[in-house]
Symmetry: C2
Subunit: 315 residues, 2 copies
């Protein structure tokens, strides 16, 4: 469940998707309505594939936001209005009576990519999801790192500009304020608002406040110099964030997923350059910085992996 | 082995120090001379306690700098001139013929504090050593996290001010440039140089370029307002670094060691305040920010713990 879409699937023990369902979150309608859509999606999958819920190994939910894994609660979620301490895990468990798990969506994506995507066989990796915000997932020694409450890796909320803008999260100068899709759109709007010329003005038919990161990416691919400069700036900040991750974790791999990953090397190459120039030499040696491979399936597949790991560690 | 001192000990399997030896590093004399002092310290300990080296379970060396654990090499060390790719582990092993290990000093301190000090029984913690520089050690699920090459956790070299000063490490605006002992001394010298009044001028008998972080601490304890302001500023930056650690790791505990830890709550209380105000609520819940308990013994004891863990994981 993300701020925009709900994706659901029945996944086999080998990671094959047996049935899929997709719907809009319509987060503005509030938690009750969203929860209903989640329950309907599950019902739809079960009837579509003619499976009873008692035959499921488990139900695993990956949700955007701060997740208290131990309590099975969505503590808060910046893009889901009204979600405060919602016991989503138990609501779903009570209806279906099978083992149910709740984790953070970027954590799930990290597990998905590690098992079936860009990070196959990699023991230590960090995944960043670059979209409206910036999420993160950390795999250490082959396992998801969850910290004290089960929702660590808020990598987007690491300060890299101590004199920077206040972030929605309450912190200052977070990576998210400088390198997210929102930051890219904001910067393009600001510069065009100051009178700079760009093909973006035509793309959004003069409504420059409607510019999105996707528009900026499109314009950049068409050679628009303002769009290219805005992406380069975000990519440089992204690189600074990656330097921090390399100096702290010395991971084998950093995977970039989320909508902005579609920019590919336009975004990653300047970031790699910053890592090469600034990170501690020994720690950066061998680190691969790559785009995610599973797209929107990473979260669903990763949630399934997580459930399987939890069940096998119990037994 | 640090930039200033070499501390050596024979440690029992229960963490008791049977014999101790202390000498100066005299790093300016270069690697060969320092290595000789390390070998002499070992010889001294053995003869002092009437033990043959064949009776040692292992020799474990904790050294300042970037350590390639796999190769047993000191890759670089900012405070040890001339140390580049020195195979310290094998030099010591060849002389004594027992299992020999080499790790980073802050990593060793983290293990020491986790086993015998402030972090006893804590499974996920981050240790920061605040001295001339800022080092770090990370314990995850009860184990030292070493990353791809065995020397992760360069927490002092995380950018928190992307528009800040260039750091010795090559990165920009590192925590170390803002919150280390060196940063504290530099800031005091800068402000007094601009004509501000402070009791520090008397403490160093007018030679303001000689001011150290210890002097600033002394002056602050005496109520000197410039010294208090300088420490508050460093403590605030330290807090920003801790916010990043909390948002990334959600650890149970952050331990502050190194010379500056002696400032105690003068340093830690403002840092705690920043964490309270800025870190993600869920992730900061329950985190304890405390000073180290073992002082200069943390590294020696932690090195012994590390060797024991390595040997038991082999067998």
């Amino acid at each position: 469940m993300g701020g925009t879409k709900i994706r659901a699937a029945i996944v086999s023990s080998k990671g094959k998707m047996i049935a899929r369902k997709y719907c809009l979150t319509l987060a503005d309608e509030g938690p009750e309505s969203v929860i209903n859509r989640i329950l309907l999606a599950i019902d739809h999958l079960l009837s579509q594939s003619n499976i009873e819920s008692s035959k499921l190994g488990s139900i695993s939910i990956a949700a955007a936001g701060a997740i208290d894994f131990v309590k099975g609660v969505v503590a808060t979620s910046p893009n889901l209005p009204g979600w405060h301490d919602i016991p989503l895990r138990d609501i779903v468990r009570e209806k279906h009576g099978v083992n149910t798990f709740l984790i953070n969506d970027a954590d799930a994506a990290a597990l998905g990519e590690q098992h079936f995507g860009a990070g196959k066989g990699v023991k230590n990796l960090v995944l960043l999801t670059l979209g409206t915000g910036i999420g993160g997932g950390i795999i250490i020694n082959g396992k998801l790192y969850t910290g004290l409450h089960g929702s660590a890796a808020e990598i987007g909320h690491m300060t890299i500009d101590v004199n920077g803008l206040k972030c929605n999260c309450g912190n200052i100068g977070c990576l998210e304020t400088l390198a997210s899709g929102t930051a890219v759109a904001r910067e393009a709007i600001r510069r065009i608002g100051q009178g700079e010329k760009s093909s973006l003005t035509q793309i959004v038919e003069g409504k420059i406040e409607n510019i999105t990161a996707e528009d900026v990416s499109l314009a950049a691919q068409g050679g628009d110099s303002l769009a290219l400069a805005v992406i380069l700036k975000a990519a440089t900040y992204l690189g600074v964030g990656m330097v921090n991750l390399v100096n702290i974790f010395s991971p084998e791999m950093i995977i970039v997923g989320g909508g902005m990953a579609k920019m590919g090397d336009l975004l990653l190459e300047p970031a790699r350059q910053v890592v090469k120039e600034r990170a501690c030499l020994l720690l950066a040696r061998g680190v691969r910085i790559v785009t995610a491979q599973l797209g929107d399936d990473a979260g669903v597949l990763g949630a399934a992996v997580f459930a399987r790991q939890q069940l096998s560690s119990k037994s």
